[in-house]
C-alpha cells in the first residue's frame, strides 16, 4: 500500500497539464479584454446539432404511458416514470392520520421556503402549514446557486427586455404567459429579499452591482459574491424559523394521496429515513417544490446538483395525473470542474465568464464567445475536446478545456477573484490549486432540469389541489434556461404558489378523502402499455457505494 501520489504535482497539476498552462499564459495578455464574436443563430444551431448531448442520437425514448405518452424524455427519466410504486399501497394504513394540515409543502429549497412565507402572509396559519424535506431544510440546489438572480432594475433595462432575452434563450419554447409572470414579479421579489435582509453585492455608493450573464443583453445579475443561493436560502430560512412554521427533516415523500372520486391531491405519505417507518399527511392543498434531477446522471454526465436531486416530484405528480412538459431537454452547464478528481462535476459559476474568464484550449487559443447561452457554450466545449481534439487530458482520462481565471484579475484589477469568488477560491485551494494564478480545467456538467410538471402563471398544476414551484415545474424556461433565472424562478413562483394556495384554501375548506386510487389507475396503464419491469420509483437517493462493499452487502433486517 502506497500513499504517495503517482504524479508529481506542481501547484496542483501534473507536468503535462503544466505544459499546456504555459501556452495559456503565453497568450493571456493578447486575449485580455478581447473576446471572440458571438455565434449567429444558424451557427448556434449547427454546434448544438453536432455536439449537444440532447441532440445526439441515443439516450432518449418515448414515454410509454399516461398523459405525456409519446413525448420524448431521457432514458433515466423514462425509467423512473415507467416504474412501480416503492411500497405496496395495501401495506399503508391511511386511517391513522399523523399530520392534518391545510398546506403541505414538499421541498425546502428557495421555492418551498418562499411558498411557506407567502402562504402565511396570505392567511394560512403557521401551525396549519407543514414543510417536509428529504434531507435538511435548505439542502437543495438553491443553496448551491452561485451566479446571481436576474432582475431588470437598471435604468437602461426593463422587464420586457428581460422577457425577450429569456424567450430567445429558451429557443422561443417557453410558455409565454408563465415567463411573463416570472419577469413581471421579479422586481417585487428582489425588493422582498432586500427587505428581509439579503446582502446583494453593492458598489461603494450602495447601488447594486449588476453583471451580465450568458444570453442577457443588459447587466441584470444580482449576486451575493459566489454564494448567492446560500445567502438567499439562509435569509428566507431564518424568516421561516422566526415564524416557527413546522417542518420535518429527513422525511422524503414516497407517494401522494388523492381523493378517489374527485382525483384531487389530498396529502402524502412520507418515509422517515432514520427509523424506516411511514407517516400519513392529510392536506387541503399541496405545493410540489422538490427541485431537479441531476443525480440521475443523464447520459453518464457528472452533476452540479445536490445529493437529493432525483426527480421524485415529477414521478409522484405524474402518477397522480399531472401533465408534464419539456422533459426532452437537459441543461448541461458549460463549466463544471474536470480536475481534480475530488470535485469533478462541481459548478464553476458563469459569473467567472461574466467577469472576463475565457475558455481556452490545450494550445492556449480562445475558441468561443464566453457568454453564449449555456447549451451553445457547452456544445462548443464538447466540440473543442472531442471533434477538434484540442482538449486537455486529465489523469483520470477526462478531457477538458481551460477556463482562464487569472484573466479576471488582469481585466478588473488584482484581488478581484478573491473578493468576488471566495467560495470557489477556497474550494480549489483545499485541493491544491490556486485559481488566482492558474487556470482551472472545465467540462460540461449536468446542471438543470429545464422541464417538469406543467405550470401556469399562478403556479397551478393540471390537477386539483397540487401547485408547483421551482425547478420541478415545466414551462417557464422552455427548453433552455438562462443564468440567474433559476433562483428567480424559485423565489417568484415560490411566492406565487404560496399566494395561490392561500387563496385556494379560502374556498376549499376540506381536504377530501385519502386514497391510492391513482396508483390503481397507474398500474393499469403500465399493464396496458405492456411495460414489464421490476423498477420502483421514486429513487429518493442515489447510490455511490463501492463495488466491493456492495458485493458483500447482506440485508438481514428485512
Amino acid at each position: 500500500m502506497s500513499t504517495k501520489t503517482e504524479y508529481k504535482l506542481i501547484g496542483g497539476y501534473p507536468q503535462d497539464m503544466r505544459n499546456s498552462i504555459k501556452k495559456v499564459e503565453a497568450t493571456r495578455k493578447k486575449r485580455a479584454g478581447k473576446v471572440l464574436e458571438g455565434m449567429s443563430l444558424k451557427e448556434r444551431e449547427e454546434v448544438l446539432n453536432q455536439c449537444h448531448p440532447d441532440f445526439r442520437p441515443g439516450g432518449k425514448r418515448k414515454i410509454g404511458l399516461g398523459l405525456n405518452k409519446g413525448n420524448i424524455a431521457p432514458n433515466e427519466v423514462a425509467d423512473l416514470i415507467e416504474a412501480h410504486p416503492l411500497v405496496d399501497p395495501k401495506k399503508i394504513n391511511l386511517k391513522k392520520i399523523d399530520h392534518d394540515v391545510d398546506l403541505l409543502i414538499i421541498g425546502g429549497g428557495l421555492a418551498g421556503t418562499a411558498a411557506a412565507l407567502l402562504a402565511n402572509d396570505g392567511g394560512v396559519k403557521t401551525d396549519k402549514i407543514l414543510l417536509v424535506n428529504k434531507l435538511r431544510h435548505g439542502d437543495s440546489n438553491s443553496i448551491m446557486a452561485q451566479g446571481g438572480t436576474q432582475v431588470a432594475d437598471a435604468p437602461e433595462d426593463s422587464p420586457p427586455i428581460h422577457y425577450l432575452d429569456a424567450f430567445g434563450g429558451g429557443h422561443f419554447t417557453n410558455k409565454p404567459e408563465v415567463l411573463k409572470a416570472l419577469i413581471e414579479e421579479a422586481p417585487h421579489s428582489l425588493k422582498w429579499l432586500v427587505d428581509l435582509g439579503v446582502l446583494f453585492d453593492r458598489t461603494e455608493d450602495g447601488d447594486f452591482v449588476r453583471l451580465a450573464g450568458g444570453g442577457t443583453s443588459r447587466k441584470r445579475m444580482h449576486a451575493c459574491k459566489d454564494y448567492t443561493g446560500m445567502e438567499e436560502v439562509r435569509v428566507l430560512r431564518d424568516e421561516f424559523r422566526n415564524r416557527e412554521i413546522p417542518t420535518l427533516e429527513y422525511c422524503p415523500v414516497i407517494e401522494l394521496l388523492t381523493d378517489p372520486t374527485t382525483k384531487k391531491v389530498t396529502g402524502a405519505v412520507i418515509w422517515e429515513m432514520e427509523t424506516g417507518d411511514y407517516k400519513v399527511i392529510r392536506a387541503k392543498a399541496t405545493i410540489m417544490a422538490t427541485g431537479g434531477f441531476g443525480r440521475l446522471h443523464v447520459r453518464g454526465f457528472p452533476t452540479t446538483n445536490h445529493y437529493g436531486a432525483t426527480n421524485d416530484g415529477v414521478v409522484l405528480a405524474y402518477r397522480a395525473g399531472a401533465k408534464l412538459r419539456d422533459l426532452d431537454t437537459v441543461q448541461y452547464h458549460p463549466t463544471g470542474a474536470a480536475y481534480p478528481q475530488q470535485i469533478i462535476g462541481l459548478l464553476l459559476t458563469e459569473k467567472l465568464r461574466s467577469m472576463g474568464a475565457q475558455p481556452v484550449n490545450v494550445d492556449g487559443e480562445a475558441f468561443v464567445y464566453p457568454l453564449e447561452p449555456r447549451d451553445v457554450e457547452a456544445s462548443a466545449l464538447i466540440k473543442e475536446c472531442y471533434v477538434k481534439n484540442k482538449g486537455v487530458p486529465t489523469p483520470t482520462g477526462m478531457q477538458g478545456v481551460w477556463l482562464d481565471t487569472p484573466l479576471i484579475d488582469v481585466i478588473n484589477g488584482k484581488g478581484t477573484i478573491k473578493d468576488s469568488f471566495p467560495g470557489m477560491v477556497r474550494m480549489f485551494e483545499r485541493f491544491g490549486v490556486d485559481m488566482v494564478k492558474d487556470p482551472v480545467l472545465v467540462f460540461p456538467t449536468l446542471h438543470y432540469q429545464n422541464g417538469g410538471i406543467e405550470t401556469d402563471p399562478l403556479a397551478n398544476s393540471s390537477i386539483d389541489g397540487l401547485f408547483v414551484a421551482g425547478e420541478v415545474s415545466g414551462g417557464v424556461h422552455g427548453k433552455n434556461r438562462l443564468m440567474g433565472n433559476s433562483t428567480l424562478d424559485c423565489i417568484v413562483f415560490g411566492r406565487i404558489s404560496g399566494r395561490t394556495a392561500a387563496k385556494y384554501l379560502k374556498k376549499n375548506k376540506t381536504a377530501g378523502k385519502l386514497s391510492f386510487k391513482h396508483l390503481e389507475r397507474y398500474e393499469k396503464l403500465l399493464k396496458d402499455a405492456k411495460i414489464k419491469t421490476n423498477r420502483k420509483a421514486p429513487m429518493v437517493l442515489p447510490d455511490y457505494r463501492g463495488k466491493e462493499a456492495l458485493e458483500r452487502m447482506l440485508d438481514i433486517f428485512n
Binding site: 501520489t5 432594475d153 428581509l196 459574491k225 463501492g546 463495488k547
Partner: protein, 259 residues
Amino acid sequence: MAKEKNIMEKIAHANQSVTKGIDPKDVKHWAKIYIMGKVYEVPADLTIMQAMEYAGYRFIHSCGCRAGFCGACSTIYRMKGEYKLQTAMACQTRVECGMYLVQLPFSPAEKPIYSVTKEPYEGNSFLKYFPEIARCVSCNTCTKACPQDLEVMDYVQAALRGDFQRVAELSFDCIQCGMCALRCPAEIVQYNVSQFGRVMYGRNGFPENKALKKVVKATEKGEYKKDFKNLLGLNMKQSKEAYKKQQATKAKFLKGGKK
C-alpha cells in the same frame, strides 16, 4: 453519425468513477482511514465523503449539496498519534492516511425568535437576543473549528460592540455547519448570532435603491403592460427578429462595468 455517438460514450466512460462509484481495479493509491474506530482501505484520491461511500456507507444524513455550500457533512477527526481534534466538511476534504473520523449530522442549538422587519437597528439588540456572547473568553476555539476559515471570534467581538456591518462582512461565507457552537466553552451559537447580524445589516445598512423602487412602481402602475402585450402578440418569425435586434445591442450595454 457513428463517430459522434462515440463521443457520448467516451464522455460517459470518462466520468464513470464519479457517476457509478469506483471500481477497485482502477485504483492505484490507497489510504487507511478509521471510520468510527474501524479501519477501512479506501482510494487515496477521494474526499472523506466519497471514501465513506466507497467503504459501503449510503448516506441518509451527513450529506447534502456535496459541494461545500450546505454545511450538512460536518466531520470531526484526529490523526493517528496526535491528540488534536480537527474539523472538516466531508465533501471538501481529501482523505489522509491515519484519519480517525466521525460525522455530526445535527447540532441541537438554540435559536432566538425575532422579527427582522420590526426589530430596531440598534447595536444592543445582539445582547438582547444573544446574552451569552458576553461570556466569550476570547479563546478562539470557534475560529480554529471553522472549516470556512472565518474569523469567528472576531465577529463575536464585533457583535458585542454592536457592529452589524463588521459581523456581516466577517461572517458572510458561513455555511452554518454548527462546528463553532459545538466547540465553544461559553455555549455561544455563533452562526445564529451572525445570521441575525447579517439580516439586520442587509435590511438597514443601505440606502433604498432608487432604480429598483422605480421599476417596482412602474410595474404596479402597469407601465409595461403595452410592451408585454406587443411581445406576446408576435409570431415566431417576428419574435426571432426582435430577439436578434435586441441581442445586437449587447456590445453597447455590456461593455465595462462598475466594480
